[in-house]
């Protein structure tokens, strides 16, 4: 069948590549023409080339297969049609992300110090006191540069009006960046000729940027950096190993580290104990240190928080940074930008209703069939109500939940996520997608060029998680020639 753009339609939605009139968007012309020229055989050959590349490069993600039997590694699902972003638009988004993460870091630091933000009435103090992610152990700590969230992954979506919104900020241990890097490598193998037609901004400096960001967190001249992973059974283990390797850092598990009575962190090597200066940890706060948090954690390192508090090791991200990774705090981010930076926010939030406010709560309860309701502290889409798709019983259940604990909920209108052409058999169909750029903060900050585009491979679905039928696309930030 091959790809025929005149038959392609994303009815009523914003498509990233094709306009409502069926024309290629600015910059997408040569890509669309090239794709339309490919026969079925050629399309299948490119697709097979991508699959082969993914297999031979060992790009996998781990899926749990049920109790006892552990997990298996699946190959990464990848769509060969790239997603395009114009550099001009990207620069604006990038500036907005930098601004946003800067304000969020100011907020976290404020929460663990003077708490001016409450005194000044920007948001109510009880939000924090009741937050599951607030860590009393972090009060008074001054991490280097007063940065708490060194690696942030913010999820962006585009609504049918073409505007880009921030859906959420993952400030704790966001993953996906290795797939962004590998997608580009796969794409270079599959469509080398396209890289001649386009000025595509490279993404592969990320590991070096991450390494230099981590180096700014210590005064040690050639610091020993370690990536702390929960181990091979973690779904993001591939990424932990990938980043450690690309940064020439040491990949360690909790049992490889030990904290001395001198409050330094050491790793156990065949040379003896070697001091570790910076740890990029991919373990959740609560599992990090059994002395301080969950006492039964087998993944963590007893004493590591003590060493961090003593300033003898840098932890990225810092414990306690999740206090800003809360769906209700999210609704205040535009206010936080204004408060801490005295600037207008460059990137909009999705309009949101706070259930703790009576008026807004009443609106939410009256319109549950049109809204998405999110709990404050869950991630990965857990515990959500998708109003238009939910049953009456489910909506009633959420109404009760909201009334019982209004602080724990916020609601948003259901966005019509933008689409992009995605290969289905031998033709292109619109599929919903989002975008996760990564923002690094240390002595200075850095935003990835584009990010990881996740695409819901099932028709009509907006679930982009790889464990639930999601795939990904290479994301091109291009200059218009």
């Amino acid at each position: 069948m091959s790809i025929k753009w005149q038959e392609y339609s994303a009815e009523g939605l914003w498509d990233e590549l094709i306009t409502a009139g069926g024309r290629a968007r600015p910059g997408a012309g040569s890509l669309c023409r090239m794709l339309a020229k490919l026969s079925d055989e050629e399309l299948n050959a490119r697709k097979a080339a991508a699959e082969l590349a993914i297999r031979s490069m060992g790009i996998t993600f781990t899926v749990y297969t049920g109790e006892g039997s552990g997990s298996i590694d699946r190959e990464w699902p990848f769509d060969i049609i790239p997603r395009l972003l114009l550099k001009k638009e990207w620069d604006q988004i990038s500036a907005g992300l930098t601004q946003r993460v800067k304000a969020l870091n100011c907020f976290i630091d404020d929460v663990y110090h003077d708490q001016r933000v409450f005194a000044d009435g920007v948001l109510p103090r009880e939000y924090i006191e009741k937050s599951r992610e607030f860590r009393g152990e972090c009060v008074g700590i001054e991490p280097p540069h007063r940065i708490w969230s060194h690696v942030c992954g913010s999820d962006l979506v585009r609504d049918s009006d073409g505007r880009v919104y921030v859906l959420e900020d993952n400030l704790r241990v966001p993953s996906g960046v290795s797939y962004m890097l590998e997608n580009r490598e796969v794409m270079k193998r599959v469509f080398p000729e396209l890289f001649e037609d386009y000025v595509i901004h490279p993404v592969d400096d990320y590991p070096a940027r991450l390494a230099s960001c981590l180096r700014t967190l210590t005064s040690v001249k050639s610091p020993q950096i370690a990536v702390l992973t929960p181990g091979i059974y973690n779904s993001a283990y591939f990424e932990h190993a990938y980043l450690a390797n690309a940064m020439a850092a040491q990949l360690v598990e909790g049992s490889d580290l030990v904290v001395g009575k001198d409050d330094y962190v050491y790793m156990k090597t065949i040379d003896g104990l070697v001091r570790v200066d910076v740890i990029y940890r991919r373990i959740d706060d609560l599992f990090l240190d059994p002395d301080v948090f969950k006492p039964d954690s087998m993944l963590g390192v007893p004493g590591i928080v003590r060493a961090w508090r003593a300033g003898n090791v840098a932890l990225a991200n810092a414990p306690g940074c999740g206090v800003a990774d809360d769906k209700v705090i999210y609704t205040y981010v535009p206010d936080l930008v204004r408060y801490y930076l005295a600037e207008e926010p460059l990137l909009p939030n999705v309009p949101s209703y706070r259930c703790v406010d009576k008026e807004q709560r009443d609106y939410v309860l009256d319109n549950l069939d049109e809204l998405v309701v999110k709990p404050a502290n869950e991630s990965g889409g857990y515990g959500m109500l998708i109003g238009p798709k939910a049953s009456r019983a489910e909506r009633n259940r959420f109404a009760r939940l909201i009334r019982a604990n209004p602080r724990n909920y916020m609601a948003q209108p259901m966005l019509k996520l933008s689409t992009a052409p995605t290969l289905v058999d031998e033709h292109a169909e619109p599929r919903h997608l989002d975008l996760r750029p990564f923002i690094l903060s240390g002595a200075s900050s850095y935003v990835t060029m584009g990010g990881l585009t996740r695409v819901a491979l099932r028709k009509g679905s907006t679930v982009v998680n790889s464990s639930q039928g999601g795939g990904s696309k290479d994301t091109w930030v291009v200059d218009l020639e």
Partner: protein
């Protein structure tokens, strides 16, 4: 990677080397014992029980089986997961270790090891007919040789490689002494009339170690006890001789940091070999000598384990007390 090798991955690589070597030796030993049974005339006493004592698993065997029959012994040593030293158990450990060594062991070798385990699981579990057993015991060592060859040709010959080889040679040295030990408890040896079967057991020992051709090339004399023992212990060119394993351990340890204690243990055993008149040892004396070797090999393993893998609390820095041994090193290579 930065310039450091984690104790945990070094340990798993070492054990991977041991498990695969153990599997290969065990497979060849069982296969050879099957051959020996065919060669032996029915009137001469012979049983499968020496295989249980060689592998040091007599106590476990006794709790699981009544008689050391061919069927019980082979099942116990090959496919019985209740025996932690069985071929299937060893390969299960190997597979579990290799999962955590991705990025250290070449990807293709990881796949070979997983396939090897799957093969053993599918072909060597449960009760086996003689022909199926013979086939499986031929395929498994061949697959291990493939892995060894692939590792040797493709893996970075770095510290991890060194630990893999240390594991190989510690296990191999140990197995060689155990296999020779079978000969010392030889009912044929004391048979009154020397005949075609007198040195049958020593021919079998050589075959278990794939060393018959090498023996004939080097010694150029008929196969008999003192020459075989001397050859398998002392020859410097035979890859499965004890001396060769010790030289390999010595070379491997010399390239590793902080190896003095393990090296001293290796050298003690080397001196022990040099000071023993191996070719004159017989019966109980030979058995005692081999026992001594095994004790010293266990000591070498202990030293490797203590130096590189285990961190005694005393070695972890205290507030104001840093002895030379606990002085942490600092990386300048990142």
């Amino acid at each position: 990677m930065s310039g450091h090798t984690l104790s945990s991955t070094a340990k798993r690589t070492y054990w991977l080397g041991r498990y695969l070597e153990r599997t290969e030796s065990t497979a060849r030993l069982i296969a050879e014992n099957g051959n020996l049974m065919i060669d032996l005339p029915a009137r001469l006493p012979h049983s499968w029980s020496p295989l249980i004592s060689i592998t040091g698993s007599g106590a476990t065997f006794a709790t699981l089986y009544e008689e050391p029959t061919e069927r019980n012994v082979t099942r116990f040593l090959i496919g019985d997961l209740r025996n932690h030293g069985s071929i299937l158990s060893s390969l299960g450990w190997a597979r579990e270790n290799v999962r955590t060594l991705r990025g250290i062991i070449p990807r293709q070798a990881v796949e070979y090891i997983i396939e090897l385990h799957l093969y053993a699981r599918d072909h060597l579990s449960g009760a086996l007919s003689r022909s199926r057993r013979a086939e499986g015991l031929t395929v498994v060592p061949a697959l291990i040789q493939q892995i060894e060859g692939f590792m040797s040709a493709n893996m970075l010959h770095d510290a991890h490689w060194n630990f893999w080889r240390l594991g190989n040679f510690v296990e191999r040295a140990d197995m060689t002494t155990r296999i020779i030990d079978v000969g010392t408890d030889n009912p044929l040896q004391t048979a009154d009339a020397p005949g075609p079967f007198t040195d049958l057991q020593w021919r079998s020992v050589l075959r278990s170690l794939n060393a018959t051709q090498s023996y004939l090339t080097v010694r150029q004399e008929p196969i008999h006890q003192s020459a075989v023992v001397g050859f398998l212990i002392g020859n410097r060119s035979l890859p499965r001789s004890l001396t060769y394993s010790l030289e390999s351990l010595r070379n491997g340890l010399r390239t590793l940091p902080r190896s003095d204690r393990a090296l001293r243990a290796v050298n003690r055993l080397r001196r022990f070999l040099q000071s023993s008149e191996i070719e004159n040892l017989e019966g109980p004396e030979l058995h005692q000598f081999l026992d001594g070797c095994q004790v010293q090999l266990a000591e070498i393993h202990q030293q490797i384990d203590r130096t590189y893998f285990e961190f005694h609390p005393r070695r972890i820095p205290q507030r104001a007390d840093r002895s030379a041994d606990t002085q942490p090193t600092r990386s300048d290579s990142t």
